[in-house]
């Protein structure tokens, strides 16, 4: 049985913010923390804590509003975790709680298990539970190949006869469910996993979602937003689907030819006056949508070409940079909102993509210390504030851990611990077709700068994650290669 907190309140909230977190207004005094505060750490953290200077807030306005009150309450709940060690975790050599690897592993195995009846609100999100758990486990260096058979048949029940995956048996196909399903199958890998996907039907489903204005809807009759654009391009790339639109596509009927027609232009329209990216043109800039936009453009072409071509970089950079909160060190999703562990990935994951866009092509690994953000502060935030006492990672102190925040905190941790370079000339052994761009990344760990600003030991390190696909390093290439070698559908 899943031992995660099973209150309807948290589960429905989890489901309702599938893919993006909505920073709910919530009281911060939940039982778990208060209980756990009693077990004090053996040594006071602040005496050896790295980068204590970041805890100051040099500039503050006096005017009190709802936003500032909420921010102050939140910070009050967070500060003990930044300056002390309320859960009594063992500390690493920098005076920061160690990564509680075995607890998180147990938590995620458990998240793949059975759920009690009140989790019925997660019924449409089971593909996500699989993806978050499997991705989190591999991040923690856990071998998940034992799950292969169960993953494969669990998703066989979710596959829709007309193409794509839904949340479960008999549910309509949905791009988010399809994304989670394909990534899960890529993570466990192997022929039986790949072959269970009906690619021809998937191609038709994708064609149905492609809209005449260039974007994608999430489901038949569903909403059109930038998640659709990203999820669709991830699936098309990994499964090596034909770029031509199938005849049934509403965009094809209008005269468009490929999945790429007007797509980057549509993504471009989502950049708001703030410089960040919104779910659809006109809406508010938001961290999760920023990752979708950058990811989508990095699938379509080389980052140093597509990003500056379709986005205005200086305001984007300024906006992304502003999302890292001080003193917490984590990221918020929007201007004047609260820090939240899942943005460790949604915003933290943007940096590799935008740094690649700014560096000139074919620069060697040595230029990778050209870092634009604060990796140490993010690692400190994740390890100090987001680890649940009994395993799993969370939004922030006061919240319960869940698979979603565990997955994306760990992906953010990986983004902070590893350096990527983009090598347009990299020989991948894959076809040099139109969607080859996402396979040109390389890891440039070792010999890079920032050593003086590290706050983690080797045992706190997690695995390298593919910066666009967000699956374990190497798995995306295997899947793409498999389908390149395959004749027809």
């Amino acid at each position: 049985m899943a031992t995660q907190q099973a209150s309807t309140e948290t589960t429905s909230a989890r489901l309702e913010e599938i893919f993006i977190s909505s920073n709910r207004i919530q009281e911060l005094s939940e039982a778990e923390d208060i209980e756990d505060m009693e077990s004090k750490s053996p040594e006071p953290l602040h005496q050896q804590m790295a980068h204590l200077d970041l805890i100051e807030q040099p500039l503050r306005d006096n005017l009190v509003t709802q936003s500032s009150e909420l921010q102050d309450e939140t910070l009050a709940a967070i500060l003990p975790f930044l300056t002390d060690n309320p859960f009594g975790f063992e500390l690493n050599s920098y005076g920061i709680p160690k990564l509680q690897r075995s607890k998180h592993i147990a938590f995620l195995h458990n998240a793949l298990g059975k759920y009690p009846p009140q989790f019925a609100v997660m019924d449409a999100a089971r593909p996500w539970l699989l993806y978050w758990s499997l991705q989190g486990l591999t991040c923690l260096r856990e071998d998940v190949s034992d799950y292969r058979e169960r993953v494969t048949y669990t998703f066989s029940a979710c596959q829709h006869p007309t193409g794509g995956f839904g949340g479960g048996h008999g549910q309509l196909p949905h791009l988010a469910a399809s994304y989670a399903a394909v990534l899960s199958l890529v993570i466990v890998g192997g022929e039986e996993s790949y072959e269970m996907i009906d690619r021809k039907a998937m191609w038709h489903f994708m064609g149905n979602m492609k809209q005449p204005d260039g974007g994608f809807t999430m489901a038949p009759g569903g909403e059109e937003d930038i998640r659709g654009a990203f999820c669709a391009m991830v699936i098309i790339t990994l499964l090596n689907l034909p770029l031509e639109l199938p005849p049934n596509s509403p965009a094809r009927v209008k005269g468009d030819e490929t999945f790429l027609t007007n797509l980057p232009e549509w993504v471009s329209r989502c950049q708001s006056f703030e410089g960040g990216i919104s779910s659809a043109p006109g809406n508010e800039a938001h961290g999760a949508y920023a990752f979708c936009a950058l990811g989508c453009l990095c699938l379509i072409g080389e980052p140093s070409t597509t990003l500056p071509k379709y986005l205005s970089i200086p305001p984007l950079l300024s906006w992304l940079s502003s999302r890292q909160t001080s003193p917490e060190g984590g990221f918020q999703g929007r201007t004047n909102k609260l820090v939240d562990g899942c943005y460790s990935h949604w915003v933290g994951g943007c940096w590799a993509l935008i740094e690649a866009a700014l560096s000139s092509p074919n620069t060697s690994a040595t230029s990778s210390n050209n870092c634009l953000w604060n990796r140490a502060a993010l690692v400190r935030w994740i390890l100090s504030c987001c680890q649940g006492k009994k395993g799993g990672l969370r939004d922030k102190p006061g919240k319960h851990p869940d698979a979603y925040h565990t997955c994306y905190n760990l992906a953010g941790l990986s983004a902070a611990q590893h350096h990527y370079v983009y090598l347009p000339e990299r020989n991948t052994g894959l076809d040099e077709g139109p969607l080859a761009a996402a396979f040109k990344w390389d890891v440039a760990d070792g010999g890079v700068g920032e050593e003086d600003k590290r706050v983690w030991d080797e045992e706190d390190e997690v695995r390298v994650v593919h910066p666009v696909f967000v699956v374990p390093w190497g798995q995306a290439e295997k899947c793409r290669g498999y389908f390149e070698r395959k004749e027809g559908f």
Partner: protein
């Protein structure tokens, strides 16, 4: 007693139980009997593409148990349209449901689908306002509001006043700032705005900054105005100097003013002052972003044309 299998009105339907794909599916949910029975009937009617009053009742029942079930919502909408149901009644039913499930994605999309078909925005703004009172930064509600304004041409129907009311309540509400931008500049059919509007918006953002100099929302708004009107950053030099100066590091009231000043000095090719401003940010007023500020400093080395 089972709700459907014991009901003669459903006796013609053979329920379709859930196929889990294998003996030990992952993340399986131990559904209550009531939920799995209703879902089995939904699968059966969807397989037959049945559109009927009883199906509407079935979807309502499932929604009450799981409002996050996108399939049920999408099928319900299709059913309502096929049966030419009373869509106003649908909206009236949705109102309390939406208030109960504030963060639900599906409800808002369903509402949008119904209102689109109804072709009338009557009462919607009032309803949205009551939702925003409960949750002033709700992304779905704001996105829906933006859709509504665009769809029904509500640009001049009190939106600006509504936003002003919300910003008066909380000048840090960035969602409200975004909506202000949308209302003033978001109409794609409009060809630019006149100077009076631009000046009004500048003044509005400046007034907010006087109240809260460290509030990034109005600074972003000001920056947006500069880019929109293609004005040089130096347009705001005097204003920015009211909140910070690289020459008076002990009298800095806003890191955002320093940021803007750095751009202004760079524009004036006054590299020394720009560096001073960026150093103050990196070392004293915004050290968490030191790497970013140092990157900005490195751009000063590039020829002016490239920056």
């Amino acid at each position: 007693m089972s709700k459907y299998s014991d009901d003669p009105a459903w006796s013609d339907i053979v329920p379709l139980p859930q196929d889990d794909g294998g003996p030990n599916p992952l993340a399986a949910i131990a559904y209550k009997d009531e939920y799995s029975e209703a879902m089995s009937y939904l699968r059966a009617v969807m397989a037959e593409n049945e559109m009927s009053e009883r199906v509407l009742g079935l979807t309502e029942h499932i929604i009450s148990m799981n409002p996050a079930h996108y399939t049920v919502w999408l099928y319900r909408a299709k059913c309502l349209f096929t049966l030419s149901s009373d869509l106003k009644a649908e909206i009236a039913w949705l109102n309390p449901t939406a208030l109960k499930h504030l963060k639900n994605y599906q409800i808002w999309h369903h509402r949008q689908t119904i209102i689109e078909k109804l072709d009338s925005a009557d009462g919607e703004v009032t309803f949205i306002s009551s939702m925003l009172e409960a949750d002033s930064k709700n992304y779905h509600v704001w996105s829906y509001r933006q859709w509504l304004v665009r769809r029904f041409d509500l640009w001049h129907e009190g939106e600006l006043e509504a936003v002003e009311g919300m910003l008066k309540e909380d000048v840090r509400n960035n969602s409200a700032w975004n909506h202000r931008w949308f209302v003033v500049f978001g109409n794609e059919k409009m060809e630019g705005v006149d100077d009076g509007v631009l000046e009004r918006e500048m003044d509005y953002a400046k007034a907010a900054i006087y109240m809260t100099p460290q509030n990034q929302s109005p600074w972003n708004y000001l920056r947006g105005l500069l880019r929109y009107a293609k004005l040089p950053a130096s347009t705001l030099k005097e204003f920015a100097l009211e909140f910070a100066s690289p020459e008076k590091p002990d009298e800095v009231h806003s890191s955002h003013a320093l940021d803007l000043l750095a751009d202004i000095y760079a524009e004036e090719e006054n590299k020394k002052e720009a560096e001073k401003a960026l150093d103050l940010l990196a070392k004293r007023f915004d050290p968490i972003r030191a790497n970013y500020w140092n990157y900005r400093k490195s751009l000063l080395e590039l020829p002016a044309a490239a920056s």
